[in-house]
Amino acid sequence: MPYFFGCSYLDLIGYVLLFPIAGSVINGLLGKKLSKPVVGIIGCTAIGLAFILSFFVFIDLLHLAPEHRVFEKDYFTWIGSGSFESIAGLQVDPLSVVMIMMVSGVGFIIHVYSVGYMQDDDGFYRYFTYLNLFTFSMLLLVLANNFLLMFIGWEGVGLCSYLLIGYWFEKKSASSAGMKAFIVNRVGDFGFILGIMLIFVTFNTIDFTEVFQAAPEHLQMGGFVVTMITLLLFVGAIGKSAQIPLYTWLPDAMEGPTPVSALIHAATMVTAGVYMVVRCNVLYTLAPFSLTVVAVIGGVTALFAATIGLAQNDIKRVLAYSTVSQIGFMFLACGVGAYIAGIFHLVTHSFFKALLFLGAGSVIHGLGGEQDMRKMGGLKKYMPTTYKTFLIGTLAIAGIPPFAGFFSKDEVLLEAFTKGSLLIWGLGAFAALLTAFYMFRLLFMTFCGKSNMSKHAEAHVHESPMIILIPLLVLAFLSIGGGFIGFPTASAINSFLAPVIGGGHHGTVDGGSLHHVSAGMMFSMMGISTGIAIAGIFIAYLMYIKNPDLPAKIAKKFKLIYTIVYNKYYVDEIYDATIVNPTVKTSFILWRIVDVRIIDGFVNAIARIVELKGEVLKLFQTGYVRNYALSILLGGVIIIVCSLILL
């Protein structure tokens, strides 16, 4: 086992968190005075160090026997009140190691990319402060050893997302989108926090290990409590991972800088929900009903978001809806009990989706901020490297072998078929078809065909600098090779993650491994999913290369459906009309009428009564002293009369 100054790398796990937060603090406090390169170097170094350390931790962990691959380190008691205790402690196990490597790795690449992308921005240091803070929070989320500490990371990433979406805060749409993201996430957190409380009340602890150990003995399979716990936690996941019905914030989140979209809203943060479900797989396995809910929501979201993606024209929004859809896939996997497939898809997705976003960023950068695909086209010749990497990403997401997405998506579909129902598989398969279609639609509209650029943009367009292209190349490489970690025949990720599933010691739940599936079945499923992908690509080819007028015709023919889809099923409008506006209106009524008129009116009415009484009594106050003296005399006489009568 490699040692570092006498202690194993596992002991140094705290530094994985320390580097990013230190980078954030340094940039935040001093960034204004530092030059941009220095800020960039600090930001990237912090994450780079975290990644290197994560890697060593991973190696360390590999050295341990699979069943001992859990390492916990407690730092201090964060909140302790009576029997309630939340310890600031970290937990390293295969799942969190995979996550920290993914987060810090992809994070590092995107940091480097950002140095180039944000070069001309005034708030450079602010950007890196937020980005480092984000990485810190995300790492905390995945490393935490109890629910509440995880919640810090959970909310922390939400905060950073808020700050980074609203990074260009002078744009009203940006600041509103940030706010929307935070508030919608809060709705999810509402469930999450109730879930944590229910866990505490049930188990009297919120420590992962203890809860998961106690769960099978404590809880009845499919009992009410465990179903409630898992559903409440899943509400949190719905919010964070942008699933139906709380997905609306994610497309709006594209107002942020593109690297942010890549890091937060594609690769890492939005997958936190999936991570959480996998982390709590012990509980979910105990609650079949919740699992069904997870699978159905995942499947429906995958399909629903994909249909919206068909008709969008903003390059980033298409990617955003595809993210929603892909996360739906992950939940679908979790919902059928294939947790590892979910994580596998999470990892590969983070590679190719980050690649796609960064590629889109490169395009936007090259076009000077243009995001509308209808004003692009034919960029292939202007930006060859970007095109190639983008193509790789698109192939990966479409699920063409041997790209990363193929393996993971195939595994998800296979699991859905074998463990879930045909319906769920159907949802997933149809969504996969649509995904292939709209992703290639995007590719064709952007890079192929004839140019629709404005004159100004055309003169301007250029390939991006190396600092942007290198990250693209790295990610492209990962998108090609990333899938092999989970290639079924040599399923490294499966065996690595297996101890995490079922609480590590539970043999009853099979860790999503595929031994029970025959090889023939497996390969036929592979064939089917590849066929689906190719079909999608072919349709896109027909519509956008071969016959560019076709889309318009179809749109005309199915005008109603097209309008609905184009307007994203009016979900935002429906929410506005049913939730937002009534709330604001009610509040106005509460303020103007209930508060001012009724409650305060009542108070003032009491005061008014006293005042009126005074007004009446005032008449007796003539202001003439002798008049007052008269009443003194009157009083005197009355006293004497009384005393005479009484005595």
Binding site: F76, T77, W78, I79, G80, S81, G82, S83, F84, L148, F151, I152, W154, E155, G156, L159, Y162, G166, F169, E170, K171, K172, S175, S176, G178, M179, F182, I183, R186, V187, D189, F190, I193, L194, M197, L198, F200, V201, T583, V584, T586, S587, F588, L590, W591, V594, D595, I599, D600, V603, A607
Partner: protein, 570 residues
């Protein structure tokens, strides 16, 4: 440890006020410096309370007990425990901040500082009094300077606001005075001793019917101060009209007196009534949480918004107090501190904006983050703290309260948790409208960022916000024993009351049974002309025996019950 730290810390500001009387009112700088020195000194003096506080005893510490008016058993009895310690420190800390925040006041600065210092003595006194009479004196003492601060240095509608504030508070506290006097005489009746000493009165077993009325009398005083939902309308007016420091003190300390009063007086003195009133208070608190948040959302005036948010936050505190478990109580106490810090800071922030552009309307702002980046950072931190972002102070308190509430009643907890969503709505929306977007008001283009003094105001609060959010243990550990003690005390007394009620019920039941049997026996006896007396007597004897048996059985059951883990609480 013979130095009477509490007395010194409490009366140093009063001494400062007297000193200021002899300073020429023209010398503004000198007056401000004297006040500041006094406030700093006071804060430093009160720091040992934190460090020398003994963690393992539920006794009051730093106690001083000197007879004051012997004839009525009034004594100068002061001391702190884990509950009042932090409120005391918060008060001395924020008073210091407030004096520094009032640096720009030019009008009658001498009188202003005198009022501030007297106010400080009053507030500190409230938190340390262990004598009902002394408590009441301080309780009213702090009202007067506050009345003047709003009424003299306030905004355009200050007279309306200050009178409203005064009358509201007074109306409640008069009822409390009546309650105090009633308790005084009850205690005399029970023990034969005339005393206002709280610790002695704690042992008094107040009859349940009286508890009901006394609880109500105290309830009005405290609920108005908190302010709980239907009694809150003085708060927005007072906040809007008060000068910055007045708002800070009002929000940060004065409101806490209400909640502190519930903890210190209502619960231990009237445990039975407190339990009886839980549904009412819980629903009012929940109504406050949601209502305050909704109304805050649509406010157009920054200060009003923060004021209504206080109503919402204090709802959490009230809810936490009345669930009678340790998480709820500790969360509430922590939340009192948190609310003091973050809302206090928010008022400071609004004050800074007001000083710059002389408007508090949200619509007049927008885009300030561009011009005032440092200000924006502080504002953001305080906003997030108020929202209850994990890692900042607000979360710890809020979460503990919610856990406590969840343990006792899930419905309450679910409803209260919606406040978490709503708080994000109104705070972030406000933040967006003030700090983000483009600058629309030309006046705002010339705004300057924070100066050194404003840094000095916000930085310490920010540090505390982070400290409590990340490492609240020093606070929680100091509360632990006292809160536990308080809860057991309440619980024991409550159980005694319950037992008494059960006994009474049994007795009534037994009597009824006996009467019924007697009637039956008589009827029987009338029917059978023979053995008249013998039969009746036998029946009666049997009835009595059976009743006694039933009683014994019930008592046994009751005892078994009470031995049962009624409170599974740690």
């Amino acid at each position: 440890m013979n130095l009477p730290i509490l007395t010194i810390a409490t009366f140093l500001p009063l001494f400062g006020a007297i000193w200021l009387l002899f300073v020429n009112g023209e010398k503004q700088e000198k007056i401000k410096r004297i006040a500041l020195v006094i406030a700093i000194g006071d804060f430093i003096i009160s720091l040992p309370l934190f460090f020398k506080f003994k963690l393992n005893t539920s006794e009051f510490q730093f106690v001083e007990n000197i007879p004051w008016i012997k004839e009525f058993g009034i004594s100068y009895h002061i001391g702190i425990d884990g509950i009042s310690l932090f409120l005391f420190l918060l008060t001395s800390f924020l008073s210091l901040i407030c004096i520094l925040a009032s640096w720009n006041i030019t009008d009658r600065i001498k009188e202003y500082m005198i009022a501030m210092l007297i106010l400080q003595t009053g507030m500190l006194g409230v938190f340390i009094s262990l004598d009902l009479f002394l408590f009441y004196v301080f309780w009213e003492l702090m009202l007067i300077p506050m009345y003047l601060i709003i009424g003299v240095w306030g905004g355009p509608r200050r007279i309306y606001a200050t009178i409203k504030f005064f009358l509201f508070t007074m109306a409640g506290s008069v009822l409390m005075l009546v309650g105090i006097i009633v308790i005084f005489f009850m205690n005399h009746k029970a023990t034969g001793e005339y005393t206002f000493d709280l610790l002695k009165i704690y042992n008094l077993d107040i009859p349940m019917g009286a508890q009901f009325w006394l609880f109500l009398a105290f309830f009005f005083a405290f609920a108005i101060k908190v302010p709980m939902f239907p009694f809150h309308t003085w708060l927005p007016d007072a906040h809007v009209e008060a000068p910055t420091a007045g708002s800070v003190i009002l929000a940060a300390v004065l409101l806490k007196m209400g909640t502190y009063g519930f903890v210190r007086f209502s619960l231990p003195l009237f445990p039975y009534a407190s339990h009886q009133f839980v549904p009412l208070i819980a629903w009012l608190a929940i109504a406050g949480i949601i209502y305050g948040a909704l109304v805050a959302m649509v406010q157009e005036d920054l200060k009003k918004l923060v004021a209504y948010s206080s109503v919402s936050h204090l709802g959490f505190v009230m809810l936490g107090i009345f669930v009678f478990n340790i998480q709820g109580m500790e969360g509430s106490i922590l939340q009192m501190i948190n609310h003091g810090l973050s809302t206090g800071a928010l008022f400071l922030i609004v004050g800074m904006l007001y000083e710059r552009s002389h408007t508090r309307l949200i619509a007049d702002y927008g885009g300030l983050a561009k011009k005032m980046p440092i200000f924006a950072v502080f504002f953001m931190v305080m906003t997030l703290s108020s929202i209850g972002l994990p890692g900042l102070n607000g979360f710890v308190g809020e979460f503990l309260v919610l856990v406590g509430v969840f343990k006792s009643n899930v419905v309450y907890a679910v409803l209260a948790t919606t406040g978490v969503i709503l708080s994000a709505c109104y705070m972030l929306w406000m933040f967006q409208r003030v700090m983000f977007n483009k600058i629309t008001n030309p006046v705002n283009r010339k705004l300057k960022d924070l100066n050194m003094r404003e840094w000095a105001l916000l930085l310490p609060i920010t540090i505390l916000v982070f400290w409590i959010g990340i490492y609240p243990k020093p606070l929680l550990s100091r509360m632990d024993v006292s809160v536990n003690h308080l809860l057991t005390q309440v619980d024991d007394k409550y159980k005694i009351s319950l037992r008494k009620i059960n006994l009474e019920n049994d007795e009534i039941a037994a009597r009824a049974e006996r009467a019924a049997r007697a009637v039956a026996a008589e009827a029987e006896a009338a029917a059978r002309a023979a053995e008249v007396e013998a039969a009746a007597r036998a029946a009666e004897a049997e009835a009595a025996a059976r009743a006694a048996e039933a009683e014994a059985a019930e008592r046994a059951a009751e005892e078994a019950n009470s031995a049962d883990p009624m409170m599974e609480e740690d």
